[in-house]
């Protein structure tokens, strides 16, 4: 009797853990966006999901699970079964900067398996056009002359602009960034840029796409972009012009991840689907309109990319002494 129970239990365990890739997918796939509707991640994720919907044999259901800077949605996917039916649109904020800055996060990067990073967002630093600051050197001088008086706004604690603002200053030789500049968190990139426009904060470093309209209209002035190539519309020195290759790790990205237990064969299938989906004309049009660069990495490269970035940022946060404490 006992043996039969054990055998059944073992059988059930095998059935539950055996990769069911042979018939994967046989039901709709839920893809979770950990940020609100209408934001950059949402637009990007929905555009890709629409393209994937034409390729993946089962319907794709996109769901927003917002809150706590993307932590709530991320945890839902971490806790899901690794059967490939619950996936996450992860982003630089949720899986690079926030884990590096915030030790109170309820998840870690290695609890996820990445199956495809597909979007890169260049980062730029901007100031109000009325400001006396015309170049990044002006900004650095200003911070050095008045430590503790220059402020920057971000999309919230642990968000990419939070990290970017501190990191750029430290690359340019501000030693104690935690003390010398003031971080003003706001509700999102839109609000962070509004703060620059209103004079609430002095500068913002973040994705070029939300800043592009303000630069185009002359309301804001770009100081630099962190990519070696120039960004259209941003008439500012690149990392190559500045001879600062250290800046280049500071880019935004979006990718798809499952829980760490996601098996190889399912990851492989996604690699193929994504390779086809990113060719979709409508998807490319939306990405281009938003100022993002489409760059698909295969599953192995994605894992490497995210882990390298997470490690580099965590080290940087420790060295700069900007990790949050509770």
């Amino acid at each position: 009797m006992k043996k039969t129970v054990l055998a059944i239990a073992a059988g059930a365990a095998v059935a539950a853990t055996a990769p069911a890739a042979a018939d994967y997918p046989n039901r709709p796939i839920q893809m979770i966006i950990p940020f609100g509707v209408g934001g950059a991640t949402d637009i990007s994720g929905r555009a890709l999901s629409a393209a994937l919907g034409k390729i993946v044999p089962q319907p794709i259901v996109v769901t927003n699970r917002t809150g706590a800077g993307g932590a709530t949605g991320s945890v839902v996917v971490r806790d899901a079964d690794g059967d490939g039916y619950t996936l996450l649109y992860a982003r630089v904020g949720t899986h690079t900067t926030n884990p590096a800055l915030n030790p109170n996060l309820p998840y870690t990067v290695d609890e996820f398996r990445f199956i495809g990073v597909y979007e890169i967002n260049p980062v730029a630093c901007v100031v109000n056009s009325n400001s006396d600051i015309h170049t990044i050197e002006d900004l650095i001088e200003e911070v050095k002359a008045n430590p503790g008086f220059v402020s920057f706004s971000s999309a919230g604690v642990g968000s990419m602009p939070h990290f970017a603002g501190l990191m750029v200053l430290s690359v340019f030789g501000i030693d104690d960034v935690d003390e010398d500049v003031i971080h003003i968190p706001t509700e999102g990139d839109g609000a962070a840029l509004t703060a620059v426009l209103q004079g609430t904060s002095d500068f913002y470093c973040g994705s070029t796409s939300p800043a592009a309209p303000f630069v185009a209209s002359g309301q804001m002035r770009p100081l630099l972009v962190t990519t070696p190539e120039a960004v259209p519309g941003f008439d500012a020195p690149t990392s190559a012009d500045l001879n600062m290759p250290e800046l280049e790790v500071m880019v935004g990205w979006t990718g798809i991840a499952g829980p760490a237990s996601l098996p190889d064969d399912i990851a492989g299938m996604w690699g193929e689907w994504l390779a086809e989906a990113v060719q979709d004309a409508e998807f490319l049009r939306i990405m281009e309109a938003g100022g993002s660069q489409v760059r698909l990495m295969d599953p192995e490269e994605s894992v490497r990319f995210v882990n390298t970035a997470a490690d580099a940022f965590a080290t940087m946060a420790r060295e700069l002494g900007i990790t949050l404490v509770d």
């Binding site: 968190p185 839109g190 209103q198 303000f214 938003g290």
Partner: protein, 511 residues
Amino acid sequence: MSFFDAFVQGFALVAQWESLAFLALGIAIGVVAGAIPGMSATMAVALTLPFTFAMQPITGILLLLGVYKGGIFGGSIPAILIKTPGTPASSATALDGYPMAEQGKAGKALSMALYASCIADFVSNLALILVAGWLAAFALNFGPPEFFTLIVFSLTIIAGVSGDSLLKGAVAALFGLLLATVGMDFIGGTNRFTFGSPDMMAGLNFIAVLIGLFALPEIFSHIRNPKEREGNVRKLGDSHLTREEFRGSLKSILRGSAIGVFMGSIPGIGAAPSAFLSYSEARRASPNRENFGKGEIEGVAAAEAGNNGVAGATLIPLLSLGIPGDVITAIIIGAFMIHGLTPGPLLFTNHADLVYALFIGLIASSVLLLFIGWFAVRGFRYVADIPSNLLFPSVLVLCIFGVFAINNSIFDVGVMLVMGLLGYAMLLLKFPAAPFLIAFILGPLLEDKFRQSMLMSRGELDIFVRGPITIIFWCLTVISVVLIVRSTMAAARIRRQQRRTSMPPRTGTNG
């Protein structure tokens, strides 16, 4: 391109059947979505967004704006009929709308909500077209300290919706403030009252709290005491408004529209505080002050004018500065960008025809809202005719579905049920729910803006009197508090006198 050319070209863009048809379709979608509990105007706009990608820019944007405006009005329908605000902005409408429905005047309440919405919407659109530049400059001067003083002033609304006991209102408000602190702290990133739960880190969902607090206590009291309403089908009532009723509310509608325009043009406030502020101002100015909260038609008018007055004005910072005023306009910015249009000062130079087309479309939307809303009112008011033993279980199911759908989260459903129990306890103990809700909405804004200001000023408190705007709000707050104290004391005096007259006369009394 001269103004006239741009205007003519804009007119040509709108005067196509597609533009008007999609605008009307958007309003219809919005009204229906707003009327479903848990389905907010924000969600409806977000779900419509992908369909606009393949459209002409002007039709796509008009469709979204239609959904937005329809959704804000649609929220008032369930607020009045079943005390379940479809959108946060319509919770103020439930305060007097639901008592009216109870009294068999659902039709009148809905009609008033519609007229107030359309008039406020029209005023708001006019403000966008005529004084956008001026209001945009004003919005740019509205930093965290100004915002903070505005919220402090808005907290005085609590006195206006506290009902009979100011003390109970204040206690309810403190509870709201306390619950609003749950979640990850916005400035420092620390977890507050989360007990290690990632769901709690996101804070308590606003709509779950709203529905739990307003709709569920009604259902619970019906379960406990079904006899009370057995066989007593509420009448729809006449939906025709008399000239006197309309005229009596017109002042409140116009005041509400103005408040809506003002609050809408400031990025980050949204429609709910505006509706409450308009409601409390109407109550303060009304001769029927005592009747507010008990089915006063002017209360419905003021609340709806306050929330629809925001709709056009939120486009002021969007179009003139490129700043999204609220979540919905943030989505609409997305729609602009997808079509390669960048909202902001350049839009007026590079795409003047589109801007004028939008303006004309917006004016048309006020009129279309009147027509579509008229049909909706006639369709939806039959809900009031459903016997309560069918209606209440259906409402409960709808609430659970709606709250689940916000985030696909069963946790939110749990929040709603717990808030329902709390709301029921408050109902039994005669604690008003509205102060709780206002504090819950304004609490996080108050804290964030205070702390942002402190960061800006490096801890100097004098930032809160840094300019004329902050000083005006401090003065308004003081005036408001003085008025509250005076009216509370006057009310206490009247009660004392009533008690005295009902008792045998005594000698030697003094005041």
